[in-house]
Every structure is written in C-alpha cells, then in structure tokens.
C-alpha cells in the first residue's frame, strides 16, 4: 500500500507548504545564480564565450595582461601551426559619436581568426548594447588619439569586457591609438595541455578570467551568495523534514508496533521528499526559465537550463541528506513509547 501518497493526499496543506518553501528557496537561488551569471557575462562575455584553450602573456607581465607585450618572434612561436590561434589586445577606452557623446568601450583587436571579428582599417564592429544607445550602422565615431574616423560596420551579440561593450578595430588603427607594436596576448584554442614557450606564461580560460581583478572579486562574492543560499536551503529542508517527522513520531511508533519495517518507513519519507522536491523544482525551473525570457534587456541576467538542472540536482541531494538526517528519529522510535502516549 502506498502510504506515502495516501498521506500527501490527506494532508495536502502541510505538503503544499513544504513544497512552497522548497519552491521559493530554489527559485531565489536560481534567480540569484542567473544574476551572478549575468554579471559575469556582462563582465567578460568576450572571454567566457571563447572555446576552451590557452592564453599566453609575457612571463614578465606579472599575470597582468595590460603589462604584457609579446614580440613578433614569440608570437610566431606560440601561434605556429595552431589552428584558429590569434594574437590580440584589449584596452579600455572610449569613442565619441556625431553628437560628441562619449561611450565607454573596450577596444579589441586581433590577428585574423574566426574567434574574433576581423575589421578593415577605419571600420569598427560594436557590441549590440550600443545599438540600444542609439548608434546605427554607418555612423561615424572618433577617438581623440586617432587621426581618422571609424565607421560603424556591424553590431555583434554579447561581447562584453569589464562591463563595457567591446569595439573591434583593425590592428593598424589600434597600434596608432595606443602607440604600441606588440600584442598583449596570444590565444590558442584546444583542449590539450599548454605548450611550454620560453618567456611566455600560459593560462587556461578560467585562470585568465581570474587575472582580471574586478572579475575574480565580483564572482567570488556572487558565488558566495549562491552557495550560502544552497547551504541555508539545505538546512531549511532538514529542519522542515525534522519537524514533520517529530509530528509523526507517534504514527511511526504505531506503524512499527503493528509490524511495519523501519526500511518501509524510510522509503515512505524518501518518496514523499522526492515527490515534493521534484514538483517544487519543476515549478521553479519553469518559472526561472520563463523569467529569462521576460527579463528586461538591460538587466544582466543569464540562466542556462544546464545551470538550473545542476542546481536542482544539488537541491535534491541536499533534500535527501536533510530528510535522511532528520529521519534518524524514525530509527530510534520505540513502538511502546507511541502506544503509551495516548491518542494518535
């Protein structure tokens, strides 16, 4: 007989309350995680959306890409024969539009590679967010370090760096603006281990992200918030299951007295926990995915189904542990106790 289900059906309110709590807590966690991810996209989509690979910077640069200069011979060595490898530079700067309005941007330039936009001299390719600010294809932009003018050639989606929209420019123009001849970085896509190159230091994508000071600090606090939420929800689950089990001590005692196995009682509790958690999570996954669609465009929010599913699995595991810990009482219940405790 399916005791677990019968109890849920008879005590709907109690289980709906439990389910709502799981729903609210997991929904909150999903949203916060979406915001955290969104901020991280906003901060470094340019890097995050690259395939897994290696960044090289000058070993003397002290892991600060801004200080890195890779001379031509080393650049050749690092890129030698590597498919899709690119030498690139990133610099924060700004451009002025026709109305002399200033826009903060991150200039990016690179050697020919399908991973980065290739741009002709005098042209500029901008992140889509600048389109919302009123810029259009064909507009001309200026920069006070640059003798010529940039013509907006196209907009691209989701290219951000350090919370600024990316502006791809031609390498010649870049060299003029920043008065340098070398690139800061070489990026070599590929999953294999980094090739050791004398005088260069290699970084995985993740390591490279962490060399960006604003990025690592921001992500650390956001991740902390998400994991705190996960831990706190774990405790909430455990406390709720505990209270439910305490309420049912008498019942468990009676069931044991008439000969129900302790393992069946655990099975009953587990299946209730799984059913309630799954239903609650289905709602919060659906709702948070729905929110992804209606989130205002300017809001840094990015929640993939994969992240939600991963977090859901963590919730199920935590709920299971919480329920099991609180279920230790079930094991301890003496049938006699329940019988002597009067009316059930």
């Amino acid at each position: 007989m399916n005791l677990a289900w019968k109890e849920i059906k008879k005590n709907k309110t109690k289980f709906i309350i439990l389910g709502s709590i799981i729903f609210l807590v997991s929904f909150l966690t999903f949203i916060i995680s979406g915001l955290s991810n969104g901020l991280s996209q906003d901060n470094a989509a340019l890097i995050k959306d690259l395939p897994e690979g290696q960044f090289y910077m000058n070993a003397d640069a002290d892991a600060t890409y801004n200080l890195s200069r890779i001379d031509a011979s080393m650049q050749d060595k690092a890129m030698n024969g590597q498919k899709d490898a690119a030498a690139l530079s990133i610099q924060m700067g700004f451009v002025n539009d026709a109305d002399d309005k200033q826009h903060s941007i991150a200039f990016v330039t690179s050697t020919d590679s399908k991973l980065f936009e290739s741009v002709e001299k005098g042209e500029i390719v901008l992140d889509r967010s600048l389109e919302d600010k009123g810029l259009k294809v064909g507009d001309t932009l200026t920069n006070n370090q640059f003798s010529g003018e940039f013509t907006v050639k196209a907009f691209v989606d989701q290219k951000k760096y350090s919370h600024a929209p990316v502006a791809y420019i031609n390498m010649e123009n870049y060299k003029e603006i920043y008065r340098v001849n070398e690139m800061q970085l070489v990026f070599v896509p590929g999953k294999e281990k980094a090739l050791e190159i004398e005088g260069l230091q290699s970084f995985s994508n993740k390591d490279f992200l962490n060399t960006i000071p604003s990025y690592s600090a921001e992500q650390m606090s956001l991740n902390m918030i998400v994991w705190f939420l996960v831990v706190i929800s774990g405790m909430l689950f455990a406390i709720f299951f505990y209270m439910m089990n305490v309420q049912k001590i008498g019942l468990y005692g009676i069931l044991k007295a008439i000969g129900v196995k302790t393992s069946s009682l655990f099975g009953m509790m587990w299946s209730q926990m799984i059913v309630i958690t799954l239903i609650a999570l289905t709602f919060s996954v659906a709702l948070s995915q729905g929110f992804t669609m209606i989130a205002p465009a300017g809001m840094p929010f990015s929640l993939t189904l994969q992240t939600t599913v991963q977090l859901s699995i963590v919730f199920i595991i935590i709920g299971f542990i919480g329920a099991t810990l609180s279920g230790i009482q079930i094991k301890k219940v003496e049938p006699l106790q329940a019988i002597q405790q009067g009316e059930v």
Binding site: M1, K6, V344
Partner: protein
C-alpha cells in the same frame, strides 16, 4: 493446549541511579482460544508484562515462549515478523493511522502481515471483518470522523484481520462507556472464539471479567495465587 508461556520473567527499569524491579518473576501459560484477564492495582506491572509478551519491549530476565519458540533469543527483525503476522494489538486508544480510511487501515494490516491473498480476496476479507464489527457502513471514513467506540471497533478489526494466533489487549474498553464497553468485550470474545485466537487482556473493569476464561491478579510485580 498451551500456545504461550511466560517463564520467570523479570523487568527492571533504571531511573537515574535507582533500579526499580517492576516484575519480580512472572509465570503464566495461555491456552489456545482462551481469554486470560490480568487485573490488579495501578502500577502493579500489568501493562509491562503485556507489552513484554507482545514483543514490544524486552524482559530483563526470564523467557517468553510462543509456540515453543523462545522470543527472548530472537533479534528485532524476527520479533517484528511475529508481531506483523502472528500477533494483534488493541490498546486503550485506537491508534489508527490518521490518513487512512477504515478500509485502508485493514488493508495496510494485511499488507504488513505479508498475506498471500489476492487484492480481491483481501477486499472481501476486509468487508467481512468490518461487517463483524458493524463498521461496514463507515468503510470509507477517516478516523477523525469516528466516535471513540467506532474507532475502537476498527482497532479490533485491524487486530484480527490477518488472523493472528495471539491478541494482546491493554484496557481496550477504558475509553468507552459501559454499554459500549460491553459491546466491545462481547465482540472480542465472539471473534476470538470463532477464530480460535488466544487472548491476553488487561482490564480495570470488574464487569469485563465475566467474559474471561481465566482471571489473574497481579500485585507489586508478582502474581497472586488465587
């Protein structure tokens, strides 16, 4: 025929530093199909010996034999199996499962006793027993909507639905008025006689003793010789 023997059973409870011997050597044998009533002053140890016999707690010393098998040597799981399939219990309160209907309470007990009956036969058996306790008209009701006497009748039905060999009852009529008490007592007697169930019952009520085959009086953890 003797089905159940209690042999020199002692029970000591430890309250902090103090050991209190509640049972001081109880000997009792129960005959098949007979009702044995335990009477005696409050605190004399009636419930304690009943629950030890029923496998709900363990004796400190002595032996409890059910059909010749020594229950004091058995592990928890073996005792659980006996409780599930060979014993039935009725207590002062009905202790029904609040979220099951009357019918489901009995189905659960059949389930627990690992009956070999098919679902259909189980349903028929439940209907039959509910008719015996005159509760067939409330088979879909939940315990909360039953009166005290009705609950107790369901509890009795649950105690015997799986055709146990033994029935243990601790003041089954204590929460009922005298008319209802008589009905319940008659019911227990009729059912145990027709099903040939051996019964050990604790009661405070002098009136109930007329339904018993034997009356045993306890005092201070010992049986008074009658």
């Amino acid at each position: 025929m003797t089905v159940f023997t209690i042999d020199e059973v002692k029970k000591t409870f430890t309250n902090g530093e103090i050991d209190e011997q509640v049972l001081k050597g109880i000997n009792l044998s129960l005959q098949e199909g007979e009702i044995t009533a335990l009477v005696g002053a409050s605190g004399s140890g009636k419930s304690t010996i009943l629950t030890i016999a029923a496998g709900l707690q363990r004796a400190s010393d002595g032996r409890v034999l059910f059909e010749g098998k020594n229950m004091t040597d058995m592990n928890q799981e073996q005792i659980r199996k006996i409780r599930a399939s060979e014993f039935g219990f009725v207590f002062q309160s009905a202790h029904l499962v609040p979220f099951l209907t009357v019918e489901e309470q009995l189905m659960l007990m059949l389930d627990v006793s690992e009956t070999t009956m098919k679902k259909k036969e189980q349903k028929a058996e439940v209907a039959k027993i509910l008719k015996l306790v005159e509760m067939n008209h409330r088979s879909k009701a939940y315990p909360a909507s039953l009166s005290g006497g009705e609950k107790q009748r369901v509890a009795i039905a649950r105690a015997i639905i799986h055709k146990p060999k033994m029935l243990f009852a601790d003041e089954p009529t204590a929460s009922l008025d005298s008319k209802r008490s008589k009905d319940v007592m008659l019911l227990i007697r009729d059912l145990t006689k027709t099903l040939n169930i051996t019964t050990l019952m604790v009661t405070h009520d002098e009136e109930m003793l007329s339904y018993a085959d034997h009356v045993i009086t306890m005092k201070d953890g010992l049986i008074l010789q009658s």
